[in-house]
Structure formats: C-alpha cells, structure tokens
C-alpha cells in the first residue's frame, strides 16, 4: 500500500519489471500511475507491502534508490529564475556529472547557443520540458520514470526523447512511463500495464530474464 498524506493511493499492485524493459503505464486519471512512478522513485512511503527497486528494499530504506532513478512528473522541476545554463550546471553538480556530459545532454535536446542564457521562466512549456529532460539525462539513471514524457514537446523533441529512451534501454536501463498518447514511444514499449483504482487491472509482460525491479 502506498500512502499519500495517509491516503492509500495504491493498494494491491503486483508488478515485476525486467531489467532493460520498457513499460507503458495506462489507465484513467486517478488510477495511480503517477503514484506508482513516485513510489518506484522512493518518494512515497509504503505500508504493509513488499517492494524492491534496482535491488533496494523500499520498506527498509527508500532513500538509497533515489540516486539511481530519473523521475520526470507532470510538473517540470526547474528553478524559474535560473538561466538554462545555471540549471544544467546545478543538475550536473547534483548528479556528479561532468561538464561534457551536461553539454551532451543539452545538445541532445537542442539547448544550445542563445537559449542557454535565457531565464527558464521565459521559456515556452515545451522548451522547459526539454530542459527538464536534459536534467534527467544528466543523472544517467538506471531506471527512468516518466509521466506523460511527450506532453508539450514538438516533433523533433519527441523523436529525440524516443531515441534517448531507446538508447537507454539498449544500454540496460529500465524505462517505465505513463502515457495517454498512442505515439511512437508507446509502440516501442515492450509491455503495457493498465492501472485502475490503484490496482493493476491488466499486464502483458514480455519474456525476459533477470528481474531487477519488483513492486508489490
């Protein structure tokens, strides 16, 4: 059971995700998709459950997994007053990444030139989303947790994101994303899990070996 302000938001979720798998979470609003992603990131307390993510027991210690997870929710976690280059530098320092890695992530989402000196508050929603995705990329996560990752992105950025997620999976990372869209990334997902009322109502697992992420 995952608790949101003592409210049981997830109850009876039984899900096992293989390492290197890409899973798409589906379900109506309020089904528990966002809570499941946040729970996997170690941000939501659990009661009466067994949960292991990347080998970390979320009941015993839900803080240790966080450094290995990249989460991008509905909202973009950015400081509006910072310039794009300030934000990227902060993310690089936070995740102990080099300047080269930060530049590569920025370049991947076309955050170059004059754009780097613009205050984040002045960017469009799509541009802010690109900065947030660059920050997740800088973190080099083993588990990508994305909530509506394509929302607000233009075609080029969507393609860049799909390519990035494909590269991450090929490199052995696991990707779990919630989406209402029927775009390319959903088609690239190896499995679709449907949530309803805080429970998994349908799951079509792909064959694989070496379980690395279990949430129960």
């Amino acid at each position: 059971m995952a608790l949101l302000d003592r409210f049981p938001a997830l109850a009876g979720v039984d899900l096992s995700v293989e390492s290197g798998e890409m899973v798409c979470l589906r379900g109506p609003n309020g089904a528990g998709k966002t809570t499941l992603l946040r729970t996997c990131a170690g941000l939501v307390p659990l009661r009466g459950a067994r949960a292991e993510v990347l080998g970390f027991d979320l009941i015993a210690d839900r803080r240790s997994v966080r450094r290995h997870v990249g989460l991008l929710g509905h909202r973009t976690p950015l400081y509006g007053d910072l310039r794009v280059d300030d934000q990227l530098r902060h993310c690089a320092a936070l995740h102990r990444a080099s300047d080269t890695e930060a530049s590569a992530a920025a370049e991947r989402f076309s955050l170059e030139g004059r754009l780097l000196g613009v205050a984040i508050r002045r960017l469009s929603e799509g541009q802010q989303r690109r900065v947030a995705l660059a920050c997740v990329t800088i973190a080099r996560p083993q588990l990508w947790l994305l909530d509506e990752p394509h929302a607000g992105l233009d075609r080029a950025s969507r393609d860049a994101l799909d390519e990035l997620l494909g590269d991450a999976v090929r490199a052995g990372a696991t990707v779990m994303f919630a989406s209402h869209e029927t775009g390319s990334a959903r088609l690239a997902a190896a499995r679709q899990v449907t949530l309803a009322g805080g429970r998994v109502s349908m799951s079509a697992p792909a064959p694989g070996a070496g379980s690395s992420a279990d949430v129960a």
């Binding site: 946040r38 400081y79 007053d81 910072l82 936070l94």
Partner: protein, 222 residues
C-alpha cells in the same frame, strides 16, 4: 555532507543573483518598515534613538519571514524538492544549505537596515564589536529558524499565513536578546550587552540542535 550543503547554498545564491528578490523586494520592504515607524513616532529623535535596537530586529525578522518563504517557495514550485531528493541529498544538507544561503541574504538585509537606522534615526554606535557579534548571531538564528519553519510549511496551501504565525513567536528570544545587546552597543542602555549576546549564542546553538534533529522528519515527507 559539506559538498552537498555548499551545492544547495550556491544554487540558492545563484537564484538570488538572477532574481535579486532580496535587494529589490525584501530590503526596500524592511527600509519601509523603518520609515513607517519613524512616522509613527512622529520623528521624535530621542524616542527613535531609544527604540532603534528593537526596530532593527523587528525589521530583520520581517525580512527573515519573507526570505524563508521565498527560499522554500522555489522548492515547492515544479517539485524541485523531489529533484533534490532524487539527487541523493540528505534532508540535513538541504536544510543547512538553504539556511546558509538565507543567512547570507539576511546579512545583506541587516547591513541595509543598520544603514537605514544611521541615516533615518541618527543613531551612533558606541561598541562596534558587540553590535557586529550580536547581529551575526541573531541573523544566523533567524535564518535557521526561518528555514526550519519554511521546511515545515513548504507545499501547504496556507503557508503564506502559517509561516509568520509559527516563526515570529519562536524567534521572540532572538528579538529580545538582540534588542538588549543592541541597546548597549548603541549607547541607549547600560545593561550587560555581552550577557545578552551570550544568550543569543545559546539560542543559536539550540536552533542548530533542533535543526539537526528535525531536518529528516521535516524534509523527508514534505
């Protein structure tokens, strides 16, 4: 731990450098408080001089409330606090990093407030060492206390009104001891200025101890 504290402090100071909220909004508000008090006391020089120490700390306390609110508003916005947690930062590092940055900002507010007192109230300092020591301890205490309650109210819908309601009573010992120490430093009282400064140090140490104990519960599930 120090690397993490510095990372948060540097980020907050960079946000301040870009937005200049302290210089453009908080300092003018604090100076306005001094002007309003001057009007309220009917520009009576002896009355203003006698109350200068107290006015300094009231003004800085209001500045600390605004600064603490702002410091945690930027973390609530867009879920930035989650992003810091996902960076593996400990709650203590987040709290102390923010307290350090707020202390720097409050030091700037204190300097401008002191300058305002000299210009508007024509006060003369008789003991600079006592004045500076008390100001350092007091502003640091306000910063820590502000961050503690900022962390407690972050994300709450009623944070705007709840923060001053919680912070001001708890900061009262700093206000009292700081005022007494300043009265001596400004030559308006023959009290034991250093005793009051020692009390400020004790209050500061108490806030630090509470901060270490409360950082986890406050910021882990905020």
């Amino acid at each position: 731990m120090w690397r993490e504290i510095w990372l948060i402090c540097r980020k907050d100071l960079t946000v301040e450098r870009r937005a200049r909220v302290t210089l453009i909004q908080i300092v003018p508000t604090v100076l306005l408080i001094l002007v309003v008090f001057a009007f309220a006391f009917d520009a009576n020089p002896s009355l203003l001089g006698a109350g200068a120490g107290g006015l300094f700390w009231v003004a800085v306390l209001f500045g600390a409330v605004l600064g603490a609110k702002r410091s945690f508003d930027i973390e609530a916005e867009g879920g930035n606090l989650d992003a810091l947690r996902l960076g593996g930062l400990s709650p203590a590092a987040i709290l102390w990093g923010k307290a350090m940055a707020l202390a720097v900002q409050m030091a700037a507010v204190a300097v401008f407030t002191a300058a305002g007192l000299v210009v508007l109230f024509s006060v003369a300092v008789t003991d600079w060492l006592l004045l500076v020591t008390a100001a350092v301890f007091g502003t640091a205490a306000f910063a820590i206390c502000g961050c503690l309650y900022g962390a407690m109210t972050v994300g709450l819908r009623s944070a705007d009104t709840l923060l001053p309601l919680l912070l001001i009573p708890v900061a009262a010992p700093v206000l009292l001891a700081g005022t007494r120490a300043f009265d001596v430093a400004l030559g308006t009282s023959a009290d034991q200025g250093w005793s009051w400064t020692a009390l400020l140090a004790v209050v500061l140490i108490t806030y630090v101890a509470v901060g270490w104990a409360a950082a986890g519960p406050l910021l882990e599930d905020a």
